[in-house]
């Protein structure tokens, strides 16, 4: 296994921080030289200044972690050379606004409705991520950072997006979240063990052999800038809890099934996180957490006794977790293990109160989706697996019931039943709406010094 220079990789690429508070500063470069000085200070080793968090192992967990990403407009505003800018992949250059239709961000999810200044990609240059152990720590670090980047000024704030964990590690629809994360060769082990093959480093970091045969993704040039970097899709995803809960009740009436079983069939996991593949009849509360990922949809060398669920009788082929991570399911292109993403991020907004369903408060997920290729990983998941039905058998024209675009009339979800035609649930709507997005390059630490150096010269 190759050694990865963990101290040169931004921490959240390879490790979850498990912090309950997140603040994302969406910043505009006001002065490249000042911005360069600020960025340099994040990696300067001065303990009196908040420091960027690398993926190097820590002895004691820090109270806060900081990471930074740049949009294409941001790299231009920081005065990177045109040749350097031209060496980035087309989808990153185009950015989230221009790629919106490809990933299903249309109609009410379309960029013209985005908030936080994200509709105007030319103004969003830098995303500064602060993960903290408490609100008080987050506020203290934020104050320090604002003083630093407000000097001269280096950056102005276009907006700030705050996330807060909900009790029980759940997301707003009530499912336990963040369970399945890829294990990267040379990186830290995940907290909930995986049974899937270890991902090659180059699936998540630039400069290493990728998941594809004899292929390393092109590294932005100079190499000092691209090496150990990667890409991130930032997304503000509003969740319509009232509509989702209403649909569960309606689907239960349609089918005679329990609403919690409907919820499990839509997701592929019970709301407790227990996978249907292991417990198709009940949310088995005795399954230890470390086994929540010990499943597949077909027998494999790691799990020779896994149930052969090729027809989706246990876990529907069109369910959310099976679409987003088909594991060893039969899928077009034999690509079920080659499109993985690292999922970070946190919920925002207060918990949903069923007694007050129409409280008018927006709640959802600040999604951070990381991979070496936005096009082949994040975008592919949304375009092919979430919003199409051609990649797996028997899906007709359905979409992902949770994060797919089900705004069209007649949106359907299919529950396969052995020996019978599938149950057809109708009445889905778009339960998750994109409220803003940005594509970022996450440089390595050496690369951040390079960016700071170029910007510093103005």
């Amino acid at each position: 296994m190759p050694e990865l220079p963990l101290e040169d990789v931004q921490g959240f690429v390879l490790r979850p921080y498990g912090r309950p508070a997140l603040r994302v500063f969406l910043l505009r470069v006001e002065s490249a030289p000042s911005a360069g000085r600020f960025l340099r200070s994040l990696v300067g080793g001065d303990a009196s200044v908040p420091q960027l968090t690398s993926a190097a192992p820590w002895v004691t967990k820090p109270n806060f972690c900081i990471n930074v990403g740049f949009t294409y407009a941001g790299l231009a505003a920081l005065k990177l050379h045109p040749q350097t800018l031209a060496s980035f992949p087309a989808e990153f250059v185009a950015g989230a606004v221009n790629r919106a239709a490809r990933v299903g961000d249309v109609d009410e999810s379309a960029p013209e409705h985005w908030k936080g200044g994200l509709a105007d990609a030319s103004r969003i240059h830098t995303l500064l991520f602060v993960f903290a152990q408490s609100d008080a720590i987050l506020d203290n670090v934020s104050a320090d950072l604002r003083t630093l980047f407000g000097k001269c000024p280096a950056f102005s704030e276009v907006s700030v997006q705050d996330g807060r964990a909900l009790p029980g590690s759940v997301a707003h629809f009530g499912y336990r979240d963040g369970l399945s994360q890829p294990t990267v060769e040379g990186g830290p082990r995940p907290s909930v063990a995986e049974v899937l093959p270890t991902a090659p480093a180059g699936e998540f970091l630039l400069g290493y052999p990728s998941q594809y045969d004899s292929f390393t993704y092109p590294v932005p040039q100079p190499r000092e800038l691209g090496h150990n970097g990667t890409f991130l899709a930032f997304r503000i995803l509003a969740q319509n809890c009232a509509a989702f809960e209403k649909f569960l009740v309606s689907a239960a009436t349609q089918t005679g099934l329990d609403p919690e079983l409907i919820a499990a069939k839509l997701c592929g996991r019970w709301r407790s996180g227990v996978p249907l593949a292991l417990s198709p009849q009940s949310a088995d509360s005795f399954l230890p957490l470390e086994q929540y990922n010990a499943f597949d949809y077909a027998p494999t060398s790691e799990l020779p006794n896994a149930n052969d669920d090729r027809r989706g009788y246990r876990c529907p082929i069109g369910s959310h977790v099976r679409r987003m991570n088909p594991r060893h399911s039969l899928v077009a292109g034999n690509s079920g293990l080659k499109r993985r993403i690292m999922r970070r991020g946190l919920t925002y907004g207060p918990p949903y109160d069923p007694m007050n369903p129409d409280d008018g408060i927006e709640r959802g997920l600040l999604g951070l989706f990381i991979g070496v290729s936005l096009k082949d990983q994040f975008e592919f998941l949304m375009s092919d697996w979430a919003n199409k039905a051609t990649f797996a058998p028997g899906l007709r024209d359905t979409r992902d019931p949770i994060n797919g675009d089900n705004s069209g009339p007649g949106a359907t979800f299919l529950i396969p039943v052995e020996g019978q035609p599938p149950l057809e649930l109708v009445g889905l709507s778009r339960f998750v709406t994109c409220r803003g997005a940005a594509y970022c390059f996450l440089p390595g630490i050496t690369a951040l010094k390079y960016v700071a150096g170029v910007a510093g010269k103005g």
């Binding site: 690509s335 080659k338 199409k388």
Partner: protein, 161 residues
């Protein structure tokens, strides 16, 4: 590299666009010389006469599960080789999987082609994609399908496979 819609380079006249999940690929490659034709002919004869489990084309297409039909045909007095297939979805989206499954066959074929992409295709993926795009004649639309919504996986599942 500006994204090019599949088929945009095609010289074929375009009628009403069909809404099939299946797509036509009509890749017509120009062979360098008669000697190259002889080598290609020998190579394809050898590959295609092997039993399916030893035929790398057969094995690759079986793994991919998104190609309905595929055939190789020499055209124009053996100066061109056509690969004619019907596949599901968007070729570009699955280019990496296609190369991983069948790249070595294309490395062997493309070595004999005029104006071919840089080889091996595994390390020159965008060039290979561009080569396929610019040599794909697709079809005069509409592309007819008796079952426009059925993918390879749908059909195999319906057949109990």
């Amino acid at each position: 590299m500006a994204p090019t819609p599949p088929g945009s380079s095609s010289a074929a006249p375009q009628g009403v666009k069909s809404a099939t999940v299946q797509q036509p690929l009509t890749l017509v490659m120009t062979i360098k010389s008669d000697n190259d034709y002889q080598a290609l002919s020998a190579l394809l004869t050898k590959i295609q006469s092997a039993p399916p489990e030893q035929n790398p084309i057969w094995k690759a297409l079986t793994i991919l599960n998104n190609v309905h039909f595929a055939r190789f045909v020499f055209l124009e007095q053996n100066t061109k080789l056509a690969v004619i297939t019907t596949y599901d979805g968007t070729f570009e989206d699955y280019i990496n999987e296609f190369i991983d499954a069948i790249g070595d066959v294309f490395n062997a074929l493309l070595a004999h082609m005029k104006d071919g992409p840089q080889l091996p295709v595994q390390q020159n993926r965008d060039q290979f994609l561009n080569y396929v795009r610019s040599n794909d004649l697709r079809a005069i639309e509409p592309f007819y399908s008796a079952y426009p919504k059925a993918t390879v996986l749908d059909i195999k599942a319906a057949l109990g496979q």
